[in-house]
């Protein structure tokens, strides 16, 4: 082995799945590439990223192709202010959040004397220069640590690296529920900025210590936008190179929390099953491509045609029983005999959305 094969960054870059963040490069956007008129808390465009918004501006959220040059990224997440709010009420917020399952962050050893430091790195650009706050939030124990970063030059990509001390207080539950979050604060009212900022120190002293009083209000002008990509949260006090995962791996990780059936509006998509009872219920099972975090909430758009032999009945009121590994659709009052094969055809544009987000 020649010494030249050791990367300049050492061996830390060789640790697989070192990035706690999922879809940090914003490649996966199962819900679509653009969402407009966003004014409240919701998942939009890039998978796993939650817009936590309360009465602070109106936004178009986009999976953008504007990326830092020469870094290997294809996409970023863009927040574009379309209706301004220059005077946030005290409890107004705008945060970009990713939440992590407790069982995926046990290696942080949080709440022990061996608690690990965390380093957050990301690329960011904005038309609005100034101070922004990033925060690691412990949802199990309601503890948090914040640090600020500065956007120095408008409309220019900048790489930011923030290191957070380990927390020797408050262990994280070892389960599939929300335990730890990363927060990018894009604006906040005085309920969050009014105290003495808990800068770089874990605490639980009250919401008003969580955000720097210097934090920008990204909602104060419709000229404002904010892009981010290459988000990586990893153990230790140094930032390694961004860990690019194959798209299929990235997609499967996202599908644990959200996926769609008939996502490409393929008119040949159908789910097959059998009729339970004479003129009874058409039951058709479907196995998810990835086991989901929890049994998902099912939302469907469009309608479905339930066929027995060549006779179809249009259904807009499907019952759906869902577990973590699959579901079955229940179409009531279908003409036919018990045991006859049925198949559920997706009408044009019909989709089933499965959400087990944190």
């Amino acid at each position: 082995m020649t010494i030249s094969k050791i990367p300049a960054s050492g061996f830390s870059d060789a640790v697989n799945f070192r990035n706690i963040v999922i879809n940090g490069d914003m490649r996966i956007a199962q819900r679509g590439t653009s969402a407009s008129s966003v004014t409240s808390t919701s998942y939009n465009t890039c998978d796993r990223w939650n817009n936590f918004i309360s009465s602070l501006g109106t936004w178009t959220v986009t999976q953008s192709t504007v990326v830092p040059t020469g870094q290997g990224f294809s996409n970023s997440l863009k927040m574009d202010c379309t209706t301004a709010d220059g005077s946030p009420a005290s409890n107004d917020v705008n945060i970009l959040i990713q939440r992590f399952e407790g069982q995926n962050v046990q290696h942080l050893k949080k709440g022990t004397s061996s608690a690990e430091s965390l380093t957050l790195s990301f690329w960011v650009r904005s038309a609005k220069t100034g101070t922004y706050t990033c925060e690691i939030y412990d949802a199990d124990n309601v503890r948090y640590i914040g640090k600020t970063y500065t956007i120095n030059v408008a409309d220019t990509w900048e790489k930011k690296i923030l290191t957070f001390d380990g927390d020797t207080t408050g262990t994280l539950d070892n389960d599939n529920a929300n335990s730890l979050n990363v927060h990018f604060w894009l604006g906040a009212g005085s309920d969050f900025t009014g105290g003495t900022f808990n800068n770089g120190t874990w605490g639980a002293g009250g919401n008003n210590t969580r955000v720097s009083s210097s934090n920008v209000n990204l909602a104060d002008s419709t000229s404002n936008d904010w892009y981010v990509t290459g988000i990586q949260l990893e153990l230790g006090t140094t930032a390694s190179e961004f860990e690019f995962l194959p798209v299929d791996v990235n997609l499967q990780r996202c599908m644990r929390y959200y996926n769609e059936i008939n996502e490409t509006n393929n008119s040949t998509t159908f789910i097959a099953g059998a009729l339970d009872g004479n003129n009874g219920t058409g039951i058709a099972p479907y196995q998810f491509p990835v086991s989901m975090r929890a049994a998902p909430t099912v939302t469907y758009t469009g309608s479905f045609n339930c066929y027995v032999a060549s006779s179809g009945t249009n259904k807009t009121d499907l019952g759906i029983q869902a577990g973590t590994r699959g579901l079955r659709t229940l179409a009531s009052s279908v003409t036919g005999s018990t045991g006859q094969a049925v198949h559920m055809d997706f009408a044009s544009g019909a989709k089933i959305h499965l959400s087990a987000e944190l």
């Binding site: 599939n176 529920a177 049994a295 909430t297 987000e357």
Partner: protein, 60 residues
């Protein structure tokens, strides 16, 4: 789903088995399974605790 956005909640049955909630939020209908780890299920429990009434057309 936020409890503030919930318009109505109805129990869903297959035969006599209660298997999910049907939830109306705005113009969207969601089927929420009976899984305590589902965050929408948690919101429904909060909505009920706040005084929301669940429609129950039990087949029995």
């Amino acid at each position: 789903m936020n409890k503030e956005n919930i318009t109505s909640v109805e129990k869903l049955y297959y035969k006599t088995n209660f298997y999910a909630y049907r939830v109306l939020t705005g113009e969207q209908i969601h089927t929420v399974p009976l899984d305590e780890a589902n965050t929408d299920y948690q919101e429904i429990q909060q909505w009920i605790a706040d005084g929301g009434t669940v429609i129950d057309n039990s087949p029995e």
